[in-house]
Amino acid sequence: MTKKIEAIIREEKLNDVKNALREIGILGMNIHEIRGQGRQGGVELTGRTGTYRVDLLPKIQVNIVLSDHNVEKTVETIREAAQTGNTGDGVIFIYPVDDTIRIRTGERGRKALTYPGDIDERRAGQ
């Protein structure tokens, strides 16, 4: 079975998260620049005079598809790298993925998700 991890993180934490994931062998990912609001509820910005409130703040959404047994380790890694302890740190969603197709080769499922040096190869080598 495969899952999709969708992590909504602070813009400035993207590099930390990416580096931490690379260390555990998660290399494939894509990101969205998004805007969102959660418990933090936006921020006050300075206007021409006085202030105004902006509710939807820029965030980064990191998308990773991977095998079930790697989910927990990956989620922990993201959490550690993205956490500041303040409101606005973000949220992680996990979804089931029906199938994956690698366009170049036509491989499907887990086969389509593996590549040299990935998290499974590293675990097997340990």
């Binding site: 006050e44 300075t46 021409r48 005079t49 006085g50 202030t51 105004y52 902006v54």
Partner: protein, 407 residues
């Protein structure tokens, strides 16, 4: 016969170029403050006026403002098509430069003044109606008031009004016309419900910086000669802008953080306020004029927001109110020690000058506001001032021009 002075002529030509530069500078100043879907539209509202009013000015605008007088209210038809306006000086206006140089320099003022008004109607005005409005406004408001204040025989000139570079003619007329137009056209869709954030504040900083530079042409050029009064005007202009910049920064800091959008707005407000006074007051007076202008406009913006009026980019608060303060301050701080062809103000023992300034301000405000409001209402009935709701939602870049600012 007056001899042409090459130094004076060169200076006025350079200043004409500097003042023309202020219109695209204004385009960027305003363009940064709107939402991205209206960026091109807003830039264009200023830019197109360089085309429209340049032609109007040559055909009949200059004549209506500066040709021989009709009851002190408007110029005649003597300079239609600039026929007879050539290399020979016109000593009524500037004795040492070609008459055509004077007409050229004045043209740049006629261009930027309606461009200032566009801040009140951005993001919702129908382009076709805007073109008609601008042509009629220049003819029915700008040309007459320019004649009142600067034309030979003009009623406010006869009265003794001091307006060195257009505090009344440019900034009061534009500011209060903007207010009238905003009332006529109504607020942008969604105004007050969600913040309408400036989409590119760096544009606005760029525009304000170029306005500051261009303003040296505006004010120091209004000496119409390369002389001591021009130097005084340049120094007071820079000083007032500097003082207002600093005071606005402090006001913003007190309310939250020192906003860059606020700081550059402060600079423009200081430039507006010193405009009528620049050739009549000392650099020390310029510090006071700029420093007082900043809180006047700052709190005028807050008042405007409080009453829920969508005078979108604060033309009234910045140009109308700082222009009014500047015109009145001229009646306080003017001194013949700076300019012997000016007059003393209240602080130099001549309270009458302050009274004259009040009369001029009230007359200009009433005329500009009244004519603009009626004109806007008539055009609304005849052509429609606003785009449709759908066109407004999509943005004027696409709906009016079929283009987008960013791809």
């Amino acid at each position: 016969m007056n001899a042409i002075n090459p130094g004076d002529t060169a200076w006025v030509l350079i200043c004409s170029a500097l003042v023309l530069m202020m219109t695209p500078a204004l385009a960027f100043f305003y363009g940064g403050m709107v939402r991205r879907k209206n960026a091109l539209s807003t830039l264009n509202l200023s830019f197109i006026i360089m085309g429209l009013i340049s032609v109007q000015w040559v055909l009949f605008g200059y004549s209506l403002a500066f040709a021989s007088d009709f009851h002190g209210l408007i110029g005649g038809l003597g300079f239609l098509g600039l026929v007879g306006v050539g290399a020979a000086p016109n000593p009524d206006y500037a004795a040492t430069i070609p008459h055509l140089a004077f007409a050229t320099f004045q043209m740049m003022f006629a261009i930027i003044t309606p461009a200032l008004i566009t801040g009140a109607l951005v993001e919702r005005v129908r382009f076709k109606t805007f073109l008609v409005f601008t042509l009629l406004w220049a003819t029915l408001v700008y040309d007459p008031v320019a004649h009142w204040v600067w034309g030979v025989g003009g009623i406010l000139r006869q009265l003794g009004t001091l307006d060195f570079a257009g505090g009344t003619v440019v900034h009061i007329t534009a500011g209060f016309s903007a207010l009238a137009f905003a009332l006529a056209i109504g607020p942008r869709k969604g105004f007050g419900k969600s913040p309408m954030e400036a989409h590119n504040i760096p544009y606005t900083v760029l525009g304000a910086g170029l306005l500051w530079v261009g303003w040296f042409g505006f004010n120091a050029g209004s000496a119409l000669a390369a002389n001591g009064i021009a130097v005084n005007a340049l120094m007071t202009t820079n000083t007032s802008a500097a003082a207002a910049t600093l005071v606005w920064m402090l006001l913003s800091w007190r309310d939250n953080k020192p906003s860059v959008l606020g700081i550059v707005t402060g600079a423009v407000v200081g430039l507006v306020a010193i405009t009528p006074a620049s050739g009549f007051v000392t650099p020390l007076a310029a510090i006071v004029i700029g420093a007082v202008a900043a809180p006047i406009s700052y709190y005028a913006i807050q008042l405007r927001e409080k009453v829920g009026l969508d005078e979108s980019l604060d033309v009234w608060a910045c140009h109308g109110m700082a222009g009014t303060w500047g015109a009145l301050a001229t009646g306080l701080f003017a001194t013949v020690a700076v300019n012997s062809s000016g007059a003393n103000g209240l602080f130099y023992g001549n309270p009458g000058q302050f009274g004259i300034q009040i009369v001029s301000v009230v007359a200009s405000i009433a005329f500009a506001f009244g004519v603009t409001f009626v004109l806007a209402k008539v055009l609304d009935a005849v052509m429609g001032l606003r785009v449709s709701e759908k066109e407004e939602a999509v943005g004027l870049d696409i709906s009016m021009h079929g283009e987008r600012a960013y791809v």
